[in-house]
């Protein structure tokens, strides 16, 4: 077993991996950029090393600096989390060259999956079902035109090196093809330094369902069930659940077996995810393989009872999988909300800043994987994911009910978050009916936000506004603040005074 693991990440995932290390008696080494000195992962670590400026290219994406910390700290292994260097084959190779175990697949397996077109060629040999289209980038507009005519409109143009919706264009009719192809190419070139674009038949309102796989270094590969990830905004996942409401045991087995074939075709090891598009007839098509732990891995953990990070670490030490496929069973339902520092009333613009008040939910069936704390200032430099709130229930309705309750307990003050978006989703009739596809969120957001005008709540706000002022601004109010409220009232007193001083200075 490893004695020390370096976590090459930040935020909630760094904390998640750090917890697994501590549970397994492994010391956790973290790295941090200049703007992350006060981050939670640094507070909780056993060793912490500064690696440079806030810009990710100077710190969390800098392979040389991270390998250097691994050597200086004597770490046996590096866990890359997700994002940053997690799917960078050069990094995996640099770890291997430095004699530090990379907790993840080999550089070769990553490279095989890194390019969508190359992955597709390998998978076609393994008999994996694909959306009709090209398996390599189109050379010319004429070729794109022929392919589009063959598979039928609408078609989707996609960047071979792509991800996150960049370099992607939906083309409804032949006359749009030329301009869309040019736009997709230049966006792909700008985003990935690679203008290769391929053409696929567009599946209208597909579901996005992915299969978790786990492979040890002795040739054993299993699938751990699917996750429904259809709720997306601008091709970014917002809410995920497991199992998928549309997948039955037979479909799960068929998808799982394909996912295992995909992993084996690439000599894949450690945790990975095979993504599928599912059409309205429940045909599934291979989309891509993500060669890392996913953001949404907790929903799989809750329904399988397995700890994926523990298993990743055990696999990386060379252990065999401690169970076989028939030892995997799923039970109950889990749903995850990605809580972002962003403003739902301002087009989901990021909202960094200081968290002045934090009330985290708890209670039956609730898990929160968080990288935030009260008093912390969310830096402006990174992805705005603050935490993941996950609800578990013995069935889907109970999971929804628990998560809805937990969202009402949850409060993040001082910055804007998308918590209100999840309250809307979880109360939505189509969501309850599991009518999910990748167009769900856009349709829901177009509907007018029904704002229940509760005059009693407004009156309560008015009375509370006066009480905050009175309790804070008078000696009498503070003295009369009952019981445990007394000291709090005194504190509020000074807050209020400084607020009124600010007012006076305006």
């Amino acid at each position: 077993m490893f004695e020390k693991i370096l976590i090459a990440n930040r935020g909630e995932i760094a904390v998640r991996v750090l917890r697994a290390c501590h549970e397994m008696g492994i010391a956790a080494v973290v790295v941090y950029s200049d703007v992350d000195r006060a981050a939670l992962h640094v507070r909780e670590a056993d060793e912490a090393y500064p690696i440079g400026a806030g810009a990710a290219s100077e710190s969390y994406l800098n392979i040389g600096k991270i390998i250097d910390v691994a050597k200086r700290s004597g770490a046996d292994a590096i866990h890359p989390g997700y994002g940053f260097l997690s799917e960078n084959a050069k990094f995996a190779q640099a770890c291997a060259d430095a004699g530090v175990k990379f907790v993840g697949p080999t550089a070769a397996a990553m490279e095989a999956m890194g390019s969508k077109t190359r992955a597709r060629q390998a998978m076609e040999k393994a008999g994996v079902p694909f959306v009709p289209g090209t398996s390599r980038g189109v050379e010319s507009f004429e070729e794109a035109e022929q392919v589009a005519a063959r598979v039928g409109y609408p078609v989707m143009l996609k960047a071979a090196a792509g991800g996150g919706g960049k370099g992607m264009r939906l083309v409804d009719a032949p006359e749009q093809l030329k301009s869309s192809l040019e736009a997709a190419r230049s966006e792909a070139e700008r985003s990935f330094g690679d203008s290769e674009v391929y053409v696929e038949k567009a599946i209208v309102n597909p579901r996005h369902i992915e299969m978790q796989v786990l492979a040890d270094e002795h040739g054993n590969t299993v699938y751990l069930g699917e996750r429904e990830c259809s709720l997306q905004r601008r091709h970014q996942k917002v809410l995920e659940e497991a199992p998928s409401p549309v997948v039955n045991a037979d479909m799960r087995r068929r998808m799982g077996e394909v996912a295992v074939r995909v992993a084996q075709a690439a000599n894949y090891t450690n945790a990975g995810t095979v993504e599928f598009l599912v059409d309205q007839e429940k045909n599934f098509y291979f989309l891509e393989m993500n060669t890392r732990l996913q953001v949404e891995h907790p929903v799989t953990e809750l329904i399988t009872g397995l700890d994926l990070v523990h298993l990743q670490i055990r696999i990386a030490t060379g252990e065999k999988l401690p169970f076989r496929q028939d030892g995997v069973s799923i039970r109950g339902n889990a749903i995850e909300c990605r809580i972002y520092a962003e403003d739902p009333d301002n087009n989901y613009f990021p909202s960094p800043g200081k968290i002045t008040l934090l009330q985290e939910p708890s209670g039956p069936g609730i898990r929160i994987d968080s990288g935030m704390y009260e008093g912390w200032t969310v830096p402006i430099d990174y992805d705005p994911l603050l935490a993941k709130l996950i609800g578990y229930g013995s069935d889907r309705d109970q999971a929804i009910a628990r998560l809805t309750r937990a969202l009402d307990e949850c409060f993040v003050g001082g910055i804007k978050t998308n918590i209100s978006l999840f309250r809307r989703i979880l109360r939505d009739a189509d969501f309850h009916a599991a009518k999910l596809d990748t167009g769900f969120l856009d349709r829901m957001l177009k509907r007018i936000k029904e704002k229940p005008a509760d005059p009693r709540a407004a009156e309560a706000a008015a009375i509370a506004a006066g009480l905050f002022a009175a309790l804070g601004s008078t000696e009498q109010g503070a003295r009369n603040g009952a019981g445990s409220g007394l000291r709090a009232a005194e504190k509020a007193d000074s807050n209020w005074k400084s607020a009124s001083r600010r007012e006076a200075l305006r």
């Binding site: 910055i415 918590i419 407004a458 009375i463 009480l467 905050f468 509020a492």
Partner: protein, 164 residues
């Protein structure tokens, strides 16, 4: 204690007094039985009659927001006896500050001093977390002063420009 309170643009007159350990509360002419404790700074446990509420207070820059359960309200509190009352919500007279809604960097200024702007006209572009946000003028008027410079880091609430 008399307060003029604006909740989401609606005005209330609140008369709040404390005697013999009890609050007496009159809101717009109606009496309410109120019992309140601060459970911690910014969190008030409130009973109105026997209805229980948790109210959270959030101050970002100079804006006060109160949350009753999970419903947020924009709030202004004024002492009607004070000469220095705040300008009323929606008041279009006089200069208005254009502030950064979040910390970030000013990537572009879209106006010059003396420019005429319409309500909603873009004034500056502020970038945070790799996304750009256009900051718009809160009223029709003339740009009186520009306080931000391109490339500068700003905090939430920092004044970028003043429109009169």
């Amino acid at each position: 204690m008399l307060y003029d309170i604006t909740i989401d643009g609606r005005n209330y007159r609140l008369d709040l007094n404390r005697a013999d350990g009890r609050w007496s509360c009159r809101l717009d002419g109606s009496d309410f039985e109120v019992d309140a404790i601060l459970t911690r700074p910014d969190v008030l446990s409130l009973r109105i009659g026997n209805l229980a509420y948790e109210v959270k207070s959030e101050r970002v820059a100079n804006d006060l927001r109160l949350w009753v359960g999970s419903t947020g309200f924009d709030v202004e509190v004024r002492d009607p006896r004070s000469l220095r009352g705040r300008t009323r919500a929606g008041d279009d007279h006089g200069p208005r500050k254009i502030t950064a809604p979040m910390p970030g960097r000013v990537v572009r200024l879209l106006v010059h001093t003396g420019d005429e702007v319409e309500l909603g006209h873009g004034v500056a572009v502020v970038e945070a977390m790799k996304m750009q946000n256009e900051i718009k003028s809160p009223k029709k008027g003339t740009i009186q002063k520009i306080l931000a410079s391109e490339g500068a880091a700003v905090n939430a609430g920092d004044v970028l420009a003043i429109v009169e």
